[in-house]
């Protein structure tokens, strides 16, 4: 047995070499792979082909909003701004409130609001499943606000139910 580099072992299992192809490129295999990939990636398109999925239609007719006089029925910023940027604004609120203890938001018109999702936004928009979830489901985003922040409407209903029992 020669230990200086020339050791041979016929039981080698990394060793008994099948033919190593010179090139990894095998047209047939690659083609089939690409087809499978494309079909998988586009499968949601095929699945929904021909179906009409109604667009979201968030409602602003909660009791809290209807109680307000007509001219006060505005959000903290314009509807267009909120539609496009509410997630950014909420992120900003979160950082200002938690990190800098600035709990009030002064909007672009100089009006002041409590910067709070649960204790301000959701007081008016108490219809979470109608107002929030509908759009979020439609565009398939899952904001994780509700893991911590309460869905007050739902909780209150549950409390009422358990008390009724």
């Amino acid at each position: 047995m020669d230990h200086n580099g020339n050791y041979k072992n016929e039981f080698g299992w990394f060793a008994d070499k099948p033919k190593v192809p010179k090139k990894l490129f095998n047209f047939k295999a690659v083609f089939i792979g690409v087809v499978i990939f494309v079909v998988l990636v586009t499968s949601p398109l095929w699945k929904n082909l021909g179906q009409i999925i109604p667009g979201p239609d968030p409602q602003l007719n909660t009791a809290a909003i209807m109680k307000l006089p007509e001219k006060d029925r505005t959000c903290v910023e314009s509807k267009e701004y909120m539609r496009a940027n509410h997630m950014l604004l909420l992120g900003e609120w979160r950082d200002e409130v938690v990190r800098d203890a600035n709990r009030d938001y002064v909007n672009s018109k100089g009006k002041k609001y409590l910067a709070s999702l649960s204790n301000n936004c959701m007081e008016c928009h108490s219809n979470k499943s109608q107002f929030c979830d509908q759009c979020h489901n439609y565009v398939a985003v899952v904001p994780n606000c509700w893991g911590c922040h309460w869905e007050k409407e739902k909780e209150k209903k549950q409390v009422a139910q358990s008390e009724a029992k």
Partner: protein, 271 residues
């Protein structure tokens, strides 16, 4: 080259603007930014140079201590792992110890002040239950080790938790010499019997602790435990020589937990 003088100047100007103006330039170009918006504290918010607490053990009997703990845990939706809402969620006694969440809790003298006990202690110390909580240290090791600044020290001395940013690495729990930090080993909601809908809960996988009731101070209210303590807990501004905490510290001898570690705890005990 397909670039004329005018185009060159325009590009040069634009890149200077981007370079010098940096962030501002980007913000101007970014859509959806509003100019006048700003953030301010709530009117009537309590402010301080350095928040601190004095625990007057002479006034703190066990009943008061319980009142304080309940007030704190109810206000902040702190789960009680031993008492699930639904009996199906019950866990073993061993797991109750492991999963327990504590913001404010009781300890015996030799656990609250390890190394300071001796064989012939004053009799009353054997029975005293010390209220312990996050010390909101001036030199907090938890803040030093946090890799995301999820826990940070505010200018008013409060050591805060940003539960939105915590990655759950638990380095702060290893660093805290006071065991003041708790991790959510499982979903806390099934263990909160009475909920405060105005304060959030936590999710699986983040660390939490006492925040000196920052949400109450910002509304001009004293911390929940202080309010419930009937004068046994004194809270105030160390930066104000006329404050009640300063007065207490001037008048009485006070202890701090593990002061020798150099974290400068800001919860003081009168025994």
């Amino acid at each position: 080259m397909g670039i004329n003088r005018r185009e060159f100047l325009r590009l040069a100007g634009l890149s200077t603007l981007l370079g010098l103006g940096g962030k501002t330039a980007f913000e101007l170009l970014a859509p959806g930014q509003l100019e006048a918006q700003q953030y301010v504290p709530e009117p009537g918010a309590f402010k301080a140079k350095r928040w601190a607490m004095v625990v007057d053990m002479r006034k703190l009997d066990e009943k008061t201590a319980h009142k304080c703990i309940n007030a704190c845990h109810l206000t902040h939706n702190v789960p009680d792992i031993a008492n699930p809402v639904n009996p199906a969620a019950a866990v073993s006694p061993e797991e109750q110890v492991r999963f327990r969440i504590k913001w404010l809790w009781k300890e015996d003298f030799h656990n609250a002040f390890p190394g300071d006990e001796h064989d012939n202690l004053q009799e009353k110390l054997h029975h005293m239950k010390f209220l312990v909580l996050c010390n909101h240290c001036d030199n907090p090791p938890c803040v030093r080790v946090c890799p995301t600044k999820a826990t940070f020290r505010r200018p008013d001395g409060m050591v805060m938790m940003d539960m939105h940013r915590c990655i759950g690495c638990r380095y702060c729990m290893a660093a805290c010499p006071f065991g003041a930090r708790s991790f959510n080993w499982r979903d806390p909601r099934p263990y909160i019997k009475e909920v405060n809908l105005n304060y959030p809960t936590r999710e699986i996988g983040v660390v939490e602790k006492c925040t000196f009731c920052d949400e109450r101070l910002s509304k001009g209210q004293m911390p929940a435990c202080v309010e419930a303590s009937g004068g046994a807990l004194i809270f105030g501004d160390l930066g104000d020589p006329k404050s009640k905490v300063r007065d207490q510290l001037r008048t009485y001898f006070t202890l701090r937990r593990k002061a020798h570690l150099g974290t400068y705890p800001q919860v003081y005990y009168i025994v």
